[in-house]
Symmetry: C2
Subunit: 229 residues, 2 copies
């Protein structure tokens, strides 16, 4: 188990994402300390980290409040991920894929291929897809070969709606979601093609476009309908 301070960061991130406090609501150090069963010190450290991540912000007055996000912020978070992952993909294509990377990506495509052989999905397929998707993006991000780029993407991913992992699927309508996930898979295939052919500009463009598919699952964030489908 990690230090109390690191635990505080992750626990707080979850509490905030789960809506324990309303947007704009102030967090009192003593209250948070009691909830997590630690003293104020690790909480104060955690507040600084969460502030940098963009989940908290200083008020004009005193203390920190949970950051309020608009539908446009959600769109921007996704677009930021698009341009950054696009940058990573372009670099990967231009430097050339290692055999290891190419295999890993191929494996992702094979895995999702078997997933989509059926006509529809069952609930547990969702987590299978989440895993495949996560691996695919990780290869590209790390494949940029730049820690600076990877860090920038990681920072942006702290916004709970911006990460490529944050695709939320409506389990009640698996039939409808099938088409959408299948499209995501096809986009992965196209990106893969561009990467192995060393077409950096095309890989970048495809990754930028691919980012928007996350928005299609953004109903929970109050996106206008026009952006949803």
């Amino acid at each position: 188990m990690g230090s109390a301070s690191n635990v505080a960061v992750t626990s707080l991130r979850k509490l905030i994402s789960d809506g324990y406090w309303k947007p704009g609501e102030k967090l009192r150090e003593v209250q948070v300390a009691e909830i997590l069963g630690v003293s104020r010190t690790p909480i104060r450290l955690a507040f600084r980290t969460l502030e940098q991540e963009g989940l908290l912000e200083k008020t004009g007055k005193q203390g920190f409040v949970v950051r309020e996000f608009s539908a446009d912020d959600v769109l921007c978070g996704v677009e930021i991920r698009g341009v950054l992952e696009g940058l990573a993909a372009r670099r990967l294509a231009e430097r050339g894929l290692s055999a290891r990377d190419q295999e890993a990506l191929q494996q992702c495509l094979d895995d999702s291929e078997t997933l989509f052989e059926k006509e529809s999905l069952v609930e547990e397929d969702i987590s299978r897809w989440a895993d495949i998707n996560s691996r695919f993006h990780a290869v590209i991000v790390n494949g940029s070969g730049s820690r600076t780029i990877a860090d920038a993407i990681a920072r942006n991913n702290h916004l709970p709606f911006a990460s490529s992992d944050s695709i939320i699927i409506d389990a009640a309508h698996l039939q409808k979601e099938f088409r959408k996930l299948h499209l995501a898979h096809q986009q992965h295939q196209m990106v893969y093609q561009a990467l192995v052919m060393g077409e950096g500009t095309r890989a970048e463009m495809l990754m930028r476009e691919h980012a928007y598919i996350g928005l299609r699952y953004g109903r929970l964030f109050g996106l206008p309908d026009a952006l949803q489908d």
Copy 2:
């Protein structure tokens, strides 16, 4: 004057950028506390902030060390700014400039126009240009209308070589630098044209290209010669 903790962040940022500690060198809390004349508490808070900004990193062992940057990291920092400011410019062009924004940009262009009417620059012109350049970029970043994008750019700018303000001019060769700054000015003009005409894609592309001009002054960061001119 701000709180001791905020002072610690800015003071530490400067100390690190000035090379007080070598890259990879460990920072001891008590030592830093003595240097800045405060207790360990604000230092510990500052370390967290600086870690998020990317100037410090946790070692595998214990404590924080100053992050070491490669020439490629410098390139990536600049490219990241390019895609993010490009995103901001595209949004600004697509939503349309306010009269206020258009005036502010026009004023920047007018100011630099008078700067480049002469055949060469004197030393104080450099700070004049730095101010103009800073204002120009600020209008575009804020013009995106998205705090999320502005924050992402601000975070990236914490890398001391990535900010658009970090153009370093060799005062010993003002004659040679003249051409480079003049090119930057011409790029500003092109960006302005694209913005007022509402050509988002072109504005984005021009901003991305414009970012690279910072690299031309990157000698101090050990960039390979091929990237310099």
